[in-house]
């Protein structure tokens, strides 16, 4: 086998992103470069990838074209279409194959409760990927985002139902694991959307705000559910709850540090009211973190977990408030309210969930090659 190393390295060297993943990332980066450029040097709309163009999208989105194309494609090329559909987006001709065929098959293949929960979470993540790809390109308002919004809501609730089943079956470890993964992804999505929406205006912005509101509502519910799952894990398997609490503590401390660092480097003006809200959130996060540390020290892991999640929520709310500076009054939100102070105060009185570990890397000033420096983080 040692003589076969070249062949083995050759095989694993074939790993790459799917065309959909690569296009999605490229669209995000294109948007990023536009956002950082001075006005007047933005790329023209024609430079966007052809599959984002509304005319094509609206043509293919008509049901008769969908249906006939779908039927023909499936008959003629089956697996090839199924593969090609994986990179499709709402409004693309192959999108129904992606959600109606590919995902249905994967759903059937997930047999165990754990696999079912993992799959339903993955399906939500796929919707979030689609939203981010659409958000990174111009013309999102020309897509029927209502369908996506509805699917997201329904599929997040299905994932939540599967998590409940895991909990009912006593598999709290899996419930926490899958729930946390989904919660992290929802949080990351909200961060990304906040960044992407900044550069939008008019109907595009309103469409994205509506999607973000849906995600925010689902994320809050999931946050609460995960808090309950963690409580049960702490009661039934304290040996697993201790490292989880340590992880939650780290996540909350990181988030608080991020918010403070962001505030320190923020050059946009923060009005008095906003500053007060930020200060309250940061102070509250500090106090709650201390309470959590004390609970952890005394062995009250459910309480510690709850406190760390709550502190994380406050730190996150502070960060969102800081980042929302400069967007006041720019555009009405999807709900019709004028832009301004974000309605992101953490829920204080509910059963605690909260502090998801932020998968993003922490800003760090040690080196210049990507580790530190000013700039946006997510």
């Amino acid at each position: 086998m040692e003589d076969n190393l070249d062949n083995i390295f050759g095989k694993i060297g074939e790993v790459r992103m799917t065309s959909g993943e690569k296009a999605s990332l490229r669209a995000s980066l294109l948007e990023l470069t536009r956002g950082s450029e001075p006005a007047g040097v933005r790329a023209t709309e024609d430079s966007r990838p052809s599959f984002y163009r509304p005319s094509m999208r609206s043509l293919l989105f008509s049901r008769p074209v969908f249906a006939s194309f779908l039927a023909g494609s499936l008959l003629l090329t089956g697996a090839g279409v199924s593969y090609a559909a994986e990179g499709s987006l709402p409004g693309d001709a192959l999108y129904p194959v992606k959600v109606g065929v590919n995902e249905a098959v994967r759903g059937v293949l997930a047999v165990s409760p754990r696999a079912k929960a993992a799959w339903t979470a993955t399906r939500v993540e796929r919707r979030l990927d689609e939203i981010e790809t659409l958000a990174a390109a111009p013309g999102v308002a020309s897509v029927d985002t209502g369908v996506l919004q509805q699917a997201l809501q329904q599929q997040t609730r299905e994932a939540s139902g599967q998590l409940d089943r895991l909990t009912d079956a006593g598999d709290h470890t899996a419930a926490v694991e899958v729930g946390t993964r989904l919660e992290e992804r929802l949080q990351k999505h909200q961060d990304r959307m906040a960044r992407l929406t900044k550069h939008k205006s008019g109907k595009d912005r309103a469409a994205l705000n509506a999607l973000t509101e849906t995600v925010g509502a689902e994320a809050e519910d999931l946050d609460q559910q995960n808090g309950q799952s963690e409580d049960r894990l702490a009661e039934t398997k304290p040996e697993l709850a201790a490292p989880l609490a340590a992880e939650r503590l780290n996540a909350a401390e990181d988030k608080l540090h991020q918010a403070r660092e962001l505030l320190a480097g923020e050059d946009r003006p923060q009005d008095d009211q906003r500053q007060e809200v930020i200060r309250q959130d940061l102070d509250r996060a500090d106090v709650i973190l201390d309470e959590g540390r004390r609970a952890m020290k005394s062995g009250d892991l459910p309480q510690a977990l709850s406190k760390f999640r709550e502190a994380h929520r406050h730190a996150r709310a502070a960060r969102e408030t800081i980042e929302s500076a400069g967007t006041d009054g720019a555009e009405p939100s999807a709900s019709g309210a004028e832009g301004g102070m974000p309605d992101r105060q953490p829920k204080e009185d509910r059963h605690d969930g909260g502090g998801q570990m932020d998968g993003g890397s922490q800003p760090d000033d040690r080196e210049t090659d990507g580790r530190g420096g000013a700039g946006r983080r997510h």
């Binding site: 040692e2 095989k11 694993i12 060297g13 490229r26 790329a43 580790r371 420096g373 700039g375």
Partner: protein
Amino acid sequence: MNQDNRPELSEAFLKAYDDLGDAIFKHCYFRVYDREQARDLVQECFTRTWEQLAAGKEIHNIKAFLYRVANNLVIDRARKKKESSLDEALEQGFQPAGTENAETAAEVGQALRALERLDPKYREAVRLRYIDGLSPGEIAAVTGESENNVSVRVHRGLEQLRQALRAGA
């Protein structure tokens, strides 16, 4: 690359993504063994690189720079989160493209396990040379080691890997 001409800078940056996005993805993937996380790392890597460019940093070797950023991100991630276990990933069906054949998949799994057990300095050299496909000169630009030192590490790492595979066969 520098910021003297923004449109050209932006174009060059996106070209760097087109040319190197998959390579950086592969680099991250064989360190975290998770597609979603690898994709996030690629996005973060290019985002940070753009931020540096937009802030006026001159980058003479974009390829080496991107690998350094990606490396730092992987290290940051490993420090903050429990490092992904290759065994766990393999159990959960981690299967790189091109290894659909069961025998190949088993061989790849065995080789990766052996690679993971190498001394970190040799492991990294072998990964960069044979998985990322970088030349010794390019590895030297990424790691800051001399090209000679890199060549020695790659050679020794490969020898150790062969020995480990022979012993495990």
